[in-house]
């Protein structure tokens, strides 16, 4: 939790919020209630939110305003939830998507 900016020169001090626990990929983390999932994970030093479906390259926060979908995770079983926009609640279970078994692209060489 040490990476969190408590007292920002411009934005001022963080007002005290309830500390709650949540799970990300079967590990317990703690974060403030109602802050975005991406921020809570970043404060815990977790930057990789998912891996690319095709090549498995690690992906994380990119636009952080909800239109690039790079931060999509599965929250309580629901897929395609944007971590950067979803407020954190107590006991949330978050899983990150990984590489998919079959590739999309291997057909290209045949019908070139």
């Amino acid at each position: 939790m040490k990476q969190r900016i408590i007292d920002h020169p411009v934005l001022g001090k963080i007002e005290e919020r309830k500390l709650i626990t949540f799970r990300f990929n079967n590990k317990e983390y703690r974060g403030f209630e109602q802050e975005s999932i991406a921020a809570a994970l970043l404060a815990n030093g977790v930057r990789t939110l998912r891996h690319h479906e095709e090549n498995g390259t690690p992906r994380g926060i990119y636009c952080n305003i909800g239109h690039c979908y790079e931060c999509r995770v599965a929250v309580n079983g629901i897929q395609g939830v944007r971590a950067c926009l979803t407020p954190l609640q107590e006991g949330m279970v978050i899983e990150s998507g990984g590489r998919l078994p079959t590739t999309v692209r291997d057909w290209r060489s045949e019908d070139e």
């Binding site: 690319h52 095709e54 990119y62 239109h67 690039c68 979908y69 790079e70 999509r72 395609g80 692209r105």
Partner: protein, 90 residues
């Protein structure tokens, strides 16, 4: 040119080199470029790379596609899962 490996389409990981080569070998329009390389078909709906693909398609424009049609905005504007559309909830 060092930005060969530069990723143009982040969702589908299509590099600048791949797009330029496809453009040179097939001299294709923006739509054909998208169909051949999947650039612009990603989860974000082409938000990031649509403009760049259009530009690459119009690069050294040949008479064949000078009445260039740029890439369309495909609905839905946000990804919708089949479960939401009417799937059976477990």
């Amino acid at each position: 040119m060092q930005n060969e490996k530069m990723i143009v389409c982040r969702c589908e990981e299509v590099t600048y080199k791949e797009l330029m080569e496809t453009k040179k070998t097939y001299n294709c329009s923006a739509r054909e470029l998208k169909l051949r390389t999947r650039a612009g078909m990603g989860y974000c709906g082409g938000r990031t790379c649509r403009g760049m693909i259009d530009k690459i398609a119009m690069f050294q424009d040949s008479p064949k596609n000078n009445k260039e049609v740029s890439l369309k905005y495909q609905p839905p504007i946000r990804p919708v899962s089949f479960t939401d559309l009417g799937g059976v909830k477990q």
